[in-house]
Amino acid sequence: MNAPRDVQRFSSFCYNCVSGPDFLKIKVEDGVATEIEPNFDAERVHPARGRPCVKAYGLVQKTYNPNRILTPMKRTNPKKGRNEDPGFTPISWDEAFDIIAARLNAIRAKGLVDDAGLPRLAVSFGHGGTPANYMGTFPAFLAAWGAVDYSFGSGQGVKCTHSEHLYGEFWHRAFTVSADTPNCRYVISCGANVEVTGGPTAVIRHSDARVRGYKRVHVEPHLTITGACSAEWVPIRPKTDPAFLFALINVLVCEHGLDRLDVPFLRDRTASPYLVGPDGLYLRDPDSGKPLMWDVATSRAVAYDAQGAVPAVEGRHRVARALTVGADAARAEHNDVEGVTAYQALVDHIARYTPEWAETICDVPAATIRRIAGEYLEAASIGETIEIDGEILPLRPVAVTLGKSVNNGWGAYECCWARTVLASLVGALENPGGTLGTTVRINRPQDNRHLSVKPGEDGFMVQHFNPTGQNSWESEPTTRNIHRTLVPIVGRNGGWSQALGPTQLAWLFTEGVPDDWSFPKPTYPEFWFVYRSNPAISFWQTRLLAESIAKFPFMAAFAYTVDETNYMADLLLPEATDLESTQLIRMGQTKYMEHFWDYIGVVLRQKAVEPQGDARDFTWIATQIAKRTDLLPQYVQQLNRGISGVSPLKGEGYDFSLDPATEPEPEHIWDAVCRAATTTLSEGKECHGLDWFKEHGFYATPASRLEWYLTPTLARQGLRYELPYQERLMRVGQELGNRLHEKGMHWWDDQLTEYVALPDWHDVPGRWERALVNAGGRPEDFPFWLLTTKSMQYHSGGNAGIALMNEVSENLHGHTGVMLNADAAAKLGIREGDRVEVRSHIGATFGKAALMKGIRPDTIVILGQFDHWATPYIKDTERASLNTIAPMSIELTDATGSGADIVRVAVRRMDKAVAA
C-alpha cells in the first residue's frame, strides 16, 4: 500500500435517519473518500459529542457502490411489473429534462388539479422528512409549482409514531415526545426502542442516565436493545399497552389519590376543574359560554378564567344555570344541574381498570403494575424544584415513553392519552425531568413550538383542525389520502399535514373504493416524483402495492440504485449523494427524539469528493427543472423566502436575495443561504459565506434550556393543557360523523368511535383477530403475533444495499432472521438457523430462525424492512419481512389514519427451498 500523496478532511453531517443531524468528517486521500470519522470540533455543541452512529460509517461504500445508478436512464419497456424488465437505457441529462419538462408543462397547460379535484403531480419522500436534508432546493421548486399531492406514503402513518405526532401536537405541541433524559430519574418505556432509533444523542444521554442511576422499565413483548439496556423488562402481550397504562392511572388516582398528586398543576395547567354535565359536555356560563369551574372560595360555579377563584379539582357540584354546546353548535340549557369535575370524571371512568383487570389483558402481574405505578409516583418527587438559567421550575423527573406500534394504529389514541395524563397527574408534562415535545410539524412556526402557543378556545392553546362544520367541511377531497376531509386533527399545514394523513387509504382507494363512497372517484397522479422512498418494500402488502405502482402513468425517481419502487419508473435520475453534494441545514432543537440541544445553529454538508459518474447535485437538478418549466422566477422567489434554506435571504438589516431573472448557480445559492443564516443567528453580528462553512463546518449559538419546556410558556399566557377530558375531540368526531352520514357514507363509522372524551378499553388485539376472521381466516391457523423491530444499522437509512451494514448487523442475534421464542420453536421442531416460512392469511415470507429466550412464546419478531427483489446486493439474501404479509385495510386503520405493524401468523420449518 502506497502512502497517499494528498490527505484532506471535510466536515459534514449525517441525517440518514430522523435522529440527525450528527457530525462527521470525511477523510479523502488523493481524491478518494476512505474513512468516516467523528468531528471532534463539534464535541461541545453536539449532545452526542461530534460522533455519528454506525450508519455513517457506511457512507464510503455508499459512494462507491458499483450498483449505483450513475447516469440518467429511461425505461424502454412500456410494460411495468415485477416480472417486466424495465429495460433502463442511459440517456443524457438534457434528454431527461426534456422528458420531464414536456410532461410537467403539459400538466400546467391543463391545470394543476384534475377533474376529480386532485393534484396531477404527486411527490413521495421517504423516512420522516429526512430526504429534505439531502434534496437541496427541490422544495423551492415544489413550492413554485403549486398543488402537489403527498398522499402516497412510504410508511407514514403505518411505520411512524403517528398518533403521537397528531395527539402530541394537540396536547402539548409535541410532534415527537421524549423523556427529559438529562434530568429524568424514572422512565416507563412502552416499546420505545430509543437506544436504536434515538441516534447518538439518545444513546449517550441514556447511557449517562444509567450510570447516574436512573431506572427504566421497558415494556415490550420482546427484549429489544433498549429492553436489554433497561433495569427491568416487562414482556407485555402485544397491543395491550392501553390496558397497562390505564391501570397505572388507576393506581395513581384511585389508590394513591389526589393528595399524592400535583394538585397545583392539575388545577392551574389542565382542565381538571372544568365541570362536565350529564350530557358529557362542559357546563358553560350561560352568558359568556365559557366552561365553568367550582370555586371553593365562594362555593359557586364561575368561568374558568374568573380572577381570584380557587377551583375544585375533584367532586360533584350543583350548578344553578348552565349551558352546554355540542356537535354542530347544538346548545342545551340546564338548571340546577350536577357537574362533575373533569378530574372526577377521570377517576370515575378509570375505576374499572384495576391492575387485577389489566393482568388478565396484558399478562403482566397486577403486583408488577402496582409497584411500577408506585415507583413512578415516588420518583416524581412532587414539590421539588430546579433552577434553570435563573428561573425556578418544578422538577418532575419521570416519564412514560411510547414506541412504534404502541403509538400508532388502533389503541394508540388510548396510549397517547394515558401517557399524557400520567405526566399531568404528577406535573411532569413539559416540566424539567418529565415528558417533553421536541418539535412541531403540523403547527406553525415549525422552528419554534413556543411561538405556536397562542390563546384558543376555552382557555386552551389554539388548534388548527380541519373544519367539520356543515358549511366549512371539505366535502370533496383535495388529496388522495383525504386528510383534510377525514382527519380533523391532522390540520392543513402543507406537506406535513398531507403526509400525515391516512396514507394507506391513498394506496387502497386508487385500487377501489367502499360501496357507499360518494366522493369523486380517486385518480392516479399523472406525474410522480419519488426520492429516498421505497414504498414497495416499506409499506404493507407490498407485492400488491408494487402492482399498484406499476399502474401510475409516469414516475421519475431520483435513484441511488434500482429498487422495488423505481423498478416501475419511467426515468431514473442519479443525484449526488451524501459525500458528493452541498446543503446547509438547521441543527439543534430541530425535530424528533431527543434533539433538544444546548445550542442552535446550522451545519453544512459539503462536496468532499466529485460525484461519481454523471450524478448531479440536487440543487442543480431542481434549478434545471424550474428553468425548463418556466418557473425560474417563482423558484428564486421561494429561495428568497427561505424555502430550502434556514432563513429568508432578505430580512431586517440584510439582503442576500437572489435575482429572480437570473439562473442561480448552486454555490451561489448556498453562499446566500449561509450568509442569511449566520446573520440571523448572530442577530447581525456575524456573516459567513459558503467558503467559511467549508472550512468550519457549522455555526452554533447557545440556547437556554428553558426552551426545552413548554409549561412556562402556557403559564405566562394563563393557558391550560386540554386534559384529561376530551370534550373537543368528542364534538369534532360527532360532527365528522354527521358530515359523512349526510353524504350517505358509513365506511368510516368504526373510526368515529375513537372520538371519545375518556377512552375505554376495546380489545385492541382483538381487532386484528376479527379482521382475520372477516377475511375468511381461522384464528387457530395463525397462532402467533408477528411484530417488527428496528435496527440502528438499517434504521431508515435506505442502506439495505450497503455491505458493511449487513456485515456488522449480523453480530446482533436475530438481526437478519425470524426471531422466535426458543421453547415455542422447539415444540414446532424448529432449530436455530432453520429456514422457516412465516405465513399470514395473505401470503408468506421466508427467513432463518433465530431462537431466543427474550421473546414471548406467542410472538414472532422480524426486523424491518426487507424482502427485496430488485435492490442489488440485498436481493441476493433471503430476509423475511412483515410488510410482505401484513394486509392494508380500512378495518385496521384508526381514526387518525394510522395502522400498526402487527399480524396473526403461522410459522413452520421448511425442509427444502420454496419460492416466495
Binding site: 500500500m1 470519522e37 457502490n65 427484549l223 436493545i225 423488562w233 456488522v808 429466550k853
Partner: protein
Amino acid sequence: MNKRYAMAIDLRRCVGCQTCTAACKSANATPPGVQWRRVLDLETGEFPDVRRTFMPVACMHCANPPCMHVCPTTATKQREDGLVTIDYDICIGCANCVMACPYDARSIEHLPHYAYGEPMKSETARFDAGRLGVATKCTFCKERIDQAAITGQIPGVDPEVTPACVNSCISGAMHFGDVNDANSNISRLLADTESFRMHEELGTDPSVYYIWDGGDQ
C-alpha cells in the same frame, strides 16, 4: 515505569450498536468478514427472567499473550508499552496464534475480498497485499499511539492519538490510556468502578477491563 496501554469498556453503557466495529473497519480497512473488533450479543436466563448483554471484544493485548508464545517466527511480539504486535514481514500464516488465542481475536485472509466482488475505488486505494496470508488483529491503532510520542499528545485524551473504536463510541463506554499512570483517565475510572477482565483465570493478564458496576461512585 513503562507505560501499559489498556482499554476499559463500561458494560453499563454499551448498547451493542456496532459503531466501534464499523469504525475499526473504516480506520483499518479490514476486508469483508474480518472484524478486528466486534460487539457480542449475549442472552442469559429463561423467559421471562432474561438478560441481554452487549460485550465488545477484540485483541486483549495480554501481558502474557498465548499467541506470542506459540509463534514459531517471533512475528508476534510485545512492546514495552504492552501492545501485542504482528510483524507481517516474518509471519508465515501458520495459524498457531489463531488457535492459541482464547479471545478469538485473530484472522488470516489468503485472498483479497471486496464488499461487492470487484474492488471499489476506496478499497483499491487502501489495499495492502502485505496483509494477505498473515495473521491480523486489533493493533490498538498503534500508529496513532506512536504519533503521541512525537506530538506529546496523550492517548485516550487526544482523539488524534486514540484508537478509532474509542473515538467512535457513541455511548461513552470505551476508554483508553496508561494503566501504569495512577493519574490517567483510565486508572481513575478503574479505581472508581468495579471491573473484570475476560478469562483472567487463564493467566493471560489481559489489557481490556470490563466495568460492570459503579463501585463507590
